[in-house]
């Protein structure tokens, strides 16, 4: 199968290998050796993409990665809407992660919901010297007084907390007791821990296990009558409303979604999740830990799914339905059939405008693989992809289900490598984050933010696919890209020719 109409797979492989050699030349020897392990060309039939992953970034190169705090506060805990998340430490981390991820929710902000607020202990020098535990206790008191309808508090540790040896667990326990068992969760997600935001996801998952689940008494009365069709959405952050355009499909097929994690999520939903019959898991990377835990401890099976693009949506709906009875299986077919005309119309409209266009991706979580199907539904090809913070099991899933022979793979790509790859391969679209966006647009390459959908979305589900298709067309076929070269700077002198 060809990745490009003009090059054979063998030629593409050779070109990509040469490209890798070329970018490595710029590094000092030791660095080149280390980076070489993260760059490869996918070989069909191999169990993974042939790259090392989840290893420390190299100092002094421009990594795109974030930190454990970003993984815990920015991704997992931040969207839990009825709890107050304290960015514990200096002001910066909370400020930069303030409302930057478009985790949509409904609620009265500042009164019973708090997602788009920045609560910080704003550490000063004296807090570093004397420790911040007393201040943290006082902060919790002040939160209780000023925000009495909060349903819980989390403490998201920034770098200094672990370094100065603060005992946030003790403070949380004492305050929880004082407030009659209020859920107060200390999270040890200091930014220096681990190699990327990935460890922050894991730590956040463990905090839910230890400080939410383990507090629930097994015989506590459920807030609702259980049904055989209760499921929980895990690992959807409701970027631009993604979890909503996913939830609606699950409900239409006859399931009941008892919890959303963590986009538009609430503490009550977290607590209810162990009562689910199945956990459906979208972002495997960030929430496989808690899903495995629930499987072990409560016997709840979990099932990965992919709601990008009609092919994968249909596949996923059927896979989810396979855990249930005929009623649900029929429901899945009914939903697929219902939306087929919409999908046909979307593809009929946009595919002719996008057929054969090439894409290079570099994103986090699940997207370096999950969105490939959606592009393929539109006749597009993903010619390069890689993970910011993927692990080996992500690359296995990518190799076995998503990428084609010869695809360029780049793990924890550096700014330099990514620029060179795009410059040489000249894809029609790059999908990555805000830090990369303007680099490629300056180069005249259309770009979409595939972490946050820029200002758009949702992209999940059938309703989301219409927006996805529209956005890719809008990005690639915007007339602005024809203007990047001044006419007097093109070789052909088109203005003079036109005059003749």
């Amino acid at each position: 199968m060809s990745l490009s109409p003009t090059l054979s797979v063998a030629e593409i492989k050779t070109r990509n290998k040469e490209l890798i050699e070329e970018v490595l030349k710029v590094y000092p020897e030791k660095t080149a050796k280390r980076r070489a392990k993260h760059l490869n060309v996918h070989q069909e039939g191999k169990p993974d993409c042939g790259v090392k992953s989840n290893i420390k970034s190299i100092p002094g190169v421009m990594t795109i990665r974030g930190c454990a705090y970003a993984g815990s506060k920015g991704v997992v805990w931040g969207p839990i809407k009825d709890m107050i998340h304290i960015s514990h430490g200096p002001v910066g981390c909370g400020q930069y992660s303030w409302a930057a991820r478009r985790n949509y929710y409904i609620g009265t902000t500042g009164i019973d919901t708090f997602v788009t607020m920045q609560f910080t202990s704003d550490f000063q020098e004296k807090d570093i010297v004397f420790g911040g535990d007393k201040k943290l206790a006082k902060i919790m008191d002040e939160i209780q007084e000023l925000f009495p309808l909060n349903n819980g508090i989390t403490v998201q540790s920034e770098c200094p907390i672990g370094l100065i040896g603060d005992d946030i667990e003790a403070v949380s326990k004492a305050k929880s007791k004082e407030y009659e068992g209020k859920t107060i969760v200390p999270v040890r997600c200091e930014g220096f821990r681990g190699v990327s935001q990935s460890l922050g996801h894991h730590i956040a998952n463990d905090a839910i296990r230890d400080w939410v689940f383990d507090k629930i008494t097994p015989d506590s009365t459920p807030r609702f009558e259980p049904t055989p069709y209760d499921v929980a959405i895990i690992g959807d952050y409701n970027i631009g409303g993604d979890a909503w355009s996913s939830r609606i499909l699950l409900e239409e097929m006859g399931l009941r979604v008892i919890a959303q994690w963590s986009g538009d999520g609430s503490l009550a939903e977290l607590e209810a999740t162990p009562k689910a019959k199945l956990n459906v898991l979208h972002c495997y990377r960030s929430m496989n830990y808690i899903s495995r835990h629930m499987e072990e401890k409560y016997g709840i099976p979990w099932c990965e799914y992919n709601f990008f693009g009609p092919s994968k949506i249909a596949e996923s709906l059927r896979k989810i339905a396979s855990y249930f009875d005929d009623k649900i299986k029929e429901g899945a077919e009914r939903v697929i059939e219902k939306y087929q005309p919409l999908m046909d119309a979307v593809i009929a409209k946009y595919r002719p405008r996008l057929e054969g266009k090439t894409v290079m991706l570099f994103v986090g979580g699940l997207r370096p693989r999950h969105v490939i199907g959606a592009y393929e539904d539109l006749g597009m090809e993903v010619v390069g992809t890689g993970y910011e913070f993927g692990h080996n099991d992500d690359y296995q899933r990518t190799a076995q289900h998503y990428v084609k022979d010869g695809t360029l793979i780049y793990d924890d790509v550096t700014g330099y490598e990514f620029e060179k790859f795009v410059e040489k391969i000249q894809p029609d679209l790059v999908g990555s984050g805000i830090k990369e966006k303007y680099v490629f647009q300056k180069m005249g390459v259309p770009f979409r933010q595939m972490h946050s959908w820029d200002y758009s979305g949702p992209y999940h589900g059938y309703d989301g696919f219409a927006i996805f298709a529209r956005d890719m067309d809008m990005a690639i076929n915007s007339p602005v890209w024809k203007k990047t070269k001044a006419p007097w700077k093109t070789e052909a002198q088109p203005l003079l020719q036109a005059a003749e």
Partner: protein, 519 residues
């Protein structure tokens, strides 16, 4: 099914459809364990009261929605103002991802910066090896002319010594011995981004003037007629720097801008990515020691830099983000006095045009109450302009403003009858501002993008001036300094006033009066 291929609904409209509304209502009722709506309403009303304000202002430990960022952001902002310079932040890498994102979201531009990517082992053993490897990688890969090092809170807590680390790195061959690696300690738990700007700029100037960290002789000042200009941390740096250069050109002033980052935050889209663009050359940075004087546009961004410069024998002059007629007058007269160059007629005409515009429009602003928040200097600049427009800058709040700043603001307020009922709030945050807006309402709020939450809560129309502005485009391309800049600020204020009048009078058969064409 509301979605269609013909008319693709965005999230704005999609979720307003009955299917989604029903789904969300059901989710809330069944699974969210929501609070009693009456109780939510009661607390919402209570949170608007003077009683709540009192409790809110009694806060000692908690900060909610602060209007400040941390030091390294300012250090990165200053560093990219030098030719082909890459900022290198010593500490954990997530911080750098945040600074780059923050600057990119405001300027809609790439923001290049590297980190030494310290992790647990560095936390235990120190980050020396990260510095040694990191400098070598940055030097080889990005071919910078200078690497400007600053720190994060992590490196500061464990006590990494940049001077020693850079020296050792050079000995180990990471970069050549004579290569320029200025540095600044910028702990995130001291001051804010304006402090970081100050520290980084001071570090760079000190490096060039005081013997390049012991690798070169100290420079001897040979006074010339040039003027140094420092902009400070400024979300309008792109527009402002160009305007200032135009003014210098009109006056025939020979100048050096220290940390001119206006080009790197405004590169063209023409098929090429420029990681470096513009910037003060390293030669200019060194030669700046010979200047006659240094003008800082923002006093609180140069609290340490200016004394350093003064100690080298130059006159230093500081302004507070001058906006409007008198502030620009003072800037130009100082410039004229220092350089001996007269203020040209063209600038006098521009001044007259700003006064003309103010005369045309002051009636719409006169007596109106404003709340302002932002960085200390910007607050002073805007408050001064409002006073000269006959407006009342009723609440002036800076999370990173201290006691000295508050006294300065108070002195400004005392200088005008319009400042009589106005108050200054140093060290307070936007949740304090919320209480102020409920208990002592004003007509308009001036601040950055985060003010939109205050606008929604309190109904106070927001005029976006400050940093960051994420949700509006391209304002940073316009100057706010000089008479032309004053005109821009005037127009932004007036536009919002007129929009607000129109929005509250556009109900047919209810408010047909006042929905005027002529204003």
């Amino acid at each position: 099914m509301p979605q269609s291929a013909e008319h693709v609904l965005d999230h704005f409209d999609l979720f307003r459809g009955p299917e989604y509304q029903q789904m969300l209502a059901n989710k809330k009722k069944m699974f969210e364990n929501p609070r009693d709506p009456a109780e939510v309403e009661r607390i919402r009303e209570w949170a608007k009261t003077p009683e709540y304000r009192e409790k809110n202002f009694a806060r000692e430990a908690l900060t909610v929605n602060p209007a400040k960022a941390c030091q390294p952001l300012g250090a990165v902002f200053a560093a990219v103002g030098f030719e082909q310079t890459i900022p290198f932040v010593h500490g954990s890498q997530g911080c750098v991802a945040y600074y780059r994102s923050h600057l990119s979201r405001h300027f809609k531009e790439p923001s290049s910066c590297v980190s030494s990517s310290m992790t647990e082992d560095a936390a235990v053993f120190g980050g020396l090896n990260n510095m040694i490897d990191g400098l070598a990688n940055t030097y080889n890969m990005y071919k910078p002319k200078m690497i400007a090092v600053s720190t994060t809170c992590m490196a500061e807590v464990i006590g990494d010594d940049l001077n020693a680390f850079i020296k050792t790195s050079k000995e180990k061959g990471s970069v050549p011995a004579e290569y320029d690696v200025p540095f600044a300690h910028t702990p995130a738990f001291v001051g804010s981004h304006v402090t970081g700007y100050d520290n980084a700029l001071k570090g760079i100037i000190e490096h060039f003037w005081d013997g390049k960290a012991g690798t070169a002789p100290k420079l001897e000042r040979v006074a010339n007629d040039k003027v140094n200009f420092i902009g400070g941390f400024d979300g309008y740096t792109v527009g402002n720097m160009r305007e200032v250069k135009r003014i210098f050109g009109l006056m025939g002033v020979d100048y050096t801008i220290l940390a001119d980052n206006s080009e790197v935050f405004d590169t063209p889209t023409d098929g090429e990515f420029r990681m470096y663009d513009g910037g003060t050359t390293l030669e200019e940075a060194a030669n700046a020691i010979n200047a006659k004087a240094t003008i800082s546009m923002q006093e609180y961004c140069t609290e340490k830099t200016l004394p350093l410069i003064a100690a080298h024998g130059q006159e230093v002059v500081a302004f507070n983000h001058p906006v409007g007629v008198s502030a620009t007058d003072n800037f130009l007269m100082a410039l004229s006095r220092i350089t001996g160059k007269p203020i040209p007629e063209e600038l006098a005409r521009e001044r007259g045009r700003l006064v003309d515009a103010m005369a045309d429009s002051a009636a719409h602003i006169h007596g109106k109450k404003f709340a302002i928040y932002g960085d200390p200097d910007l607050c002073l600049g805007l408050a001064g302009f409002l006073l000269e427009l006959g407006a009342e800058p009723t609440h002036i709040l800076a999370t990173n403003g201290g006691k000295a700043w508050a006294e300065k603001v108070q002195a400004l307020l005392d200088s005008s009858p319009f400042g009589k009922n106005c108050h200054v709030y140093p060290g307070k945050d936007l949740w304090h501002m919320r209480s102020l807006l409920f208990t002592e309402p004003v007509d308009f709020l001036i601040g950055n993008t985060y003010g939109k939450y205050l606008e929604r809560d309190t109904g106070t129309p927001l005029i976006r001036i400050g940093f960051p502005i994420f949700d509006r485009h391209h304002h940073h391309r316009y100057p706010v300094w000089g008479y032309q800049g004053g005109l821009n600020v005037l127009v932004w204020i007036l536009d919002r006033i007129f929009e607000s009048i129109d929005a509250t009078t556009n109900v047919p058969a209810k408010s047909d009066y006042s929905f005027d064409i002529i204003r």
